[in-house]
């Protein structure tokens, strides 16, 4: 293993690391927002919204992320990393929506009825009473989704997204040190993901105890 040869391109690696982190965080925030929206649609009393929410979740959960990213890139033609981040958001929204739906449905129905009877509208009751309680149940699976996001962001490389994996591809084609490059880059992914996975385990334990 000749990591010095790879580290000679440290500025590319650091740039890639930044893109990977930025894309993951943006996609997480965006999918949290849209995921909550879709989850609320799925459990709302309106049939059409219900159907729309389910259709979204079922469709995007069941196709490869690579296809979503390529399609966003080649249909809407933004910059590679933007296409990648949008693709990640579309995909992760479907999973987060499922997690949040399960969380909301774990709150007893009586809560909604009680909230409504105090004069709150459906929307108010959802935002003020149900969602805050659901968050507890939802946080551990959300942590897992974030972990997946970081790993999945490696697909940005397929649309010249400038992320860690993209830089790895370039460095290995410059140096011909394929194994060294990918193993070295793997280390950087682990630096990002291992602490996250410990956080997820911690959250799982904590919320399991309190729940």
């Amino acid at each position: 293993m000749d990591f010095a040869r790879v580290w000679a391109y440290s500025d590319m690696i650091i740039e890639g690391l930044q893109v990977t982190m930025l894309a993951s965080v943006i996609a997480l925030l965006a999918s949290l927002f849209f995921g909550t929206l879709v989850a609320v649609m799925r459990i709302s009393p309106f049939k059409s919204l219900n159907w729309l929410g389910s259709a979204y979740v079922e469709f995007f959960r069941n196709i490869p992320l690579l296809l979503i990213i390529l399609s966003v890139f080649f249909i809407f033609t933004p910059k590679g990393w933007i296409a990648g981040t949008i693709g990640l958001t579309i995909y992760t929204t479907a999973f987060i929506a499922e997690a949040i739906r399960a969380g909301i449905q774990s709150i007893p129905k009586g809560q909604m009825e009680a909230a409504r009877s105090t004069g709150l509208t459906y929307g108010q009751a959802m935002i003020l009473i149900i969602l805050p309680q659901a968050i507890k149940v939802v946080i551990p699976p959300l942590g897992n989704q974030f972990l997946n996001l970081v790993k999945n962001s490696s697909l940005l490389a397929m649309v010249a997204g400038g992320d860690l994996m993209y830089q790895a591809d370039l460095i290995s084609s410059i140096t011909f040190k394929t194994m060294d490059t990918y193993v070295f880059i793997a280390g950087f992914y682990l630096i990002l993901t291992i602490p996250l996975s410990f956080l997820v385990k911690y959250l799982e334990k904590r919320f399991a105890l309190s729940g």
Partner: protein, 216 residues
């Protein structure tokens, strides 16, 4: 966008042939990952000194890496150690390594979800640890593992598309061959291929829900 040209008979049959290749790859990888996933999961649950810790470290590393990277390493990287796999075997190897690690987590948490009291009760009724594991804990745990395992299989089917990184001739690769001939075929081809993946995976998820409903 040229839908008519992209969906010519030749292109369609080319895509469906490669779909068979995708299914073959996914099928083999699913079987292998289930076998290894269950073994690794049981090893982690069983708390055998040293072995459990080593397995835990390996599984944690593998679970936390992007699959594309594992694919690249198992194809190009193993060369450095004198192991030369053809594209298809390297794809299967990478998928198995990654998905087995994921499944082992499902198995471990499935087993952990069976209360400790069950094991104690089984032991006090005279069963050995192994017998209790095999006859009492595993069967119950397995039932709880079915839904997440099916999700993982769907994930694996989707993940086969990533083996395009090493040029494995599956569905995604065939899509690329089709739109390489004419770039106006690109979007129509991507849409068609998305629909193919959707139909297969959605059917699988419906099937899994039916199974779940039956068990309850």
């Amino acid at each position: 966008m040229d839908f008519v040209g992209a969906y010519s008979g030749a292109n369609l049959s080319f895509l469906f042939e490669s779909l068979l290749e995708t299914l073959k790859m996914a099928g083999l990888a699913i079987i292998l990952s289930l076998i290894f996933g269950i073994i690794l999961g049981v090893l982690r649950f069983a708390r055998i000194p040293v072995i459990t810790q080593i397995v835990a470290i390996i599984v944690d590393i593998l679970r936390n890496l992007p699959l594309v990277l594992i694919i690249m390493v198992s194809y190009f990287g193993l060369r450095d150690f004198g192991i030369q796999l053809d594209v298809f075997s390297a794809a299967i190897l990478a998928l198995t390594i990654f998905e087995a690690a994921m499944i082992s987590e499902i198995v471990r948490s499935g087993l952990n979800s069976i209360s400790k009291g069950q094991m104690e009760a089984a032991r006090s009724s005279g069963l050995s640890y192994t017998q209790a594991l095999r006859h009492i804990i595993l069967p119950q745990g397995l039932r709880r593992m079915v839904p997440p395992t099916v999700s993982q299989c769907i994930a694996l089917l989707k993940d086969t598309s990533l083996t395009i990184a090493i040029g494995a001739t599956e569905l995604m690769y065939a899509a690329r061959v089709v739109y390489a001939s004419q770039t106006s075929y690109m979007v129509p081809t991507l849409i068609l291929v998305a629909l193919i993946y959707f139909v297969i995976n959605y059917s699988l998820s419906i099937l899994s829900r039916r199974l779940e409903a039956k068990q309850i």
